[in-house]
Symmetry: C3
Subunit: 135 residues, 3 copies
C-alpha cells in the first residue's frame, strides 16, 4: 500500500477555500487505518492548507477579507511576478495541517473542515495526503 | 495502549493562553515512549495551539494584544455569530503543533511552552494529544 | 539509528530566512528512508520555520517587510526584553513544518524551500530534524 495519495483541485478565483475532508475520505481512505496522524499538504508557494469552520461559509469569507486587508494584493512589493501577497498569506496560514486519526477515522471536530487555501488562483493545485503511524 | 489522550481545559476569559506541557506529561505521559513526534491539537475552530515563551507571561500578553490589533473583535464581519475574529486568529496561530520526542521526552527548548490559545472564551475546550513513531 | 538530527545555524541579521533543504539532505539524510513525514523544528521562541519560495529571494524579502509592517519592532509592548515582535512573528509563522517523504525523498514542490526564520538575530540557532514513519 502506498503511504500517500495525491488529489487534484481546480480553483476558480484568486482567493478560494476548497473543502477537502470528503474528498480525502473518498480518494485517500485506504491510508486511514489504525491510529496516527493524517498530514495534508500542498507542494505550492501561493496556496496553503488550514482547518477551520466548514458549516457557515461566511466564516471563511471573513477570513479571506481579513487576510486581504492585512496583506493587500497591491503594495510596495519587489517580487517581479506581482503575487507576493499570496506568498505571505500562504506563510501565515501554513502549507500543511496534521490531524489525529483514531481507528481509521479523522478526528475532526464537529465544526472543523480541512481547506485548501487558494491565494493566487485560478490554478490547478495538488494536495498530498500522507499518514504517519502511532507506535 | 491507546495512541491518543484527551485533556479538558476550562478557560476563563475571551483571550487566554493556557500552558499545557506539564499536564501533557502528567496525563498523557504514557504516550511518550521512544522516538517520534508529539502532536497536540484542538477539535475547535475558535481556539488554537501554539508554542512560545512560557517564562515571562508578558510575552503571551503582548501576543494577545498584537493579534487583537490586527484582527479586532468588532469589524465589518458577515458571520452572524459575531466571533469571526476568533476564527481568523485560530487560522493565524494554527489548530495544532508537533514537537520532537526523543527517548520518551518532549524536546521543548529552554523557554518553550505549549499553549492552548483561547480566542472566544470562556469555554470548555478539548486538547487531543497523539504520538507518531519514528521508523 | 538515531531518529533525529540537530543542525546549527548562525544568523547574521535581525530578520533572515536561511534555506535548510540542502543541509537537511546532507546532514540528516540518514533519517530519510522509506515513507513518512519529515519534521523540521526549532527549540526557540524568537525564530520559526516555514516553507515557501526559494527561487527568487525577493519573495522572502517581501515576506520580511510585510511581517515588519504588521508587527513593528517598536510598539507598546510590555515584555521587558524588547523583542516581543520576534515572539509574535514566530507564532504567526510557526515553530515547525512537516513535509511528506516518499521513498526516502522529501516531497518539496518545484519552488518550495524550507526556511529557518530568524526574527531576533544575529544568533546561534538549532534546527531539529525528525522523521515519523508511515504505517
Amino acid at each position: 500500500m502506498a503511504a500517500s495519495r495525491r488529489l487534484r483541485v481546480e480553483t476558480q478565483s484568486r482567493t478560494q477555500f476548497v473543502p477537502l475532508a470528503a474528498r480525502i475520505r473518498a480518494e485517500a481512505g485506504a491510508l486511514l487505518s489504525g491510529d496516527g496522524l493524517l498530514h495534508v499538504s500542498v507542494p505550492h508557494t501561493t496556496a496553503g492548507v488550514c482547518v477551520n469552520e466548514g458549516y457557515d461559509p461566511d466564516v471563511m469569507a471573513d477570513v479571506g477579507r481579513v487576510l486581504e486587508r492585512l496583506v493587500p494584493w497591491k503594495a510596495d512589493y519587489r517580487h517581479a511576478e506581482g503575487n507576493s501577497a499570496a506568498h505571505v498569506k500562504t506563510i501565515l496560514v501554513g502549507s500543511s495541517v496534521s490531524l489525529p486519526v483514531r481507528g481509521g477515522a479523522i478526528e475532526l471536530g464537529q465544526w472543523q473542515e480541512i481547506f485548501l487555501c487558494e491565494f493566487d488562483g485560478p490554478r490547478s493545485r495538488t494536495v498530498i495526503v500522507t499518514m504517519a503511524a502511532s507506535p
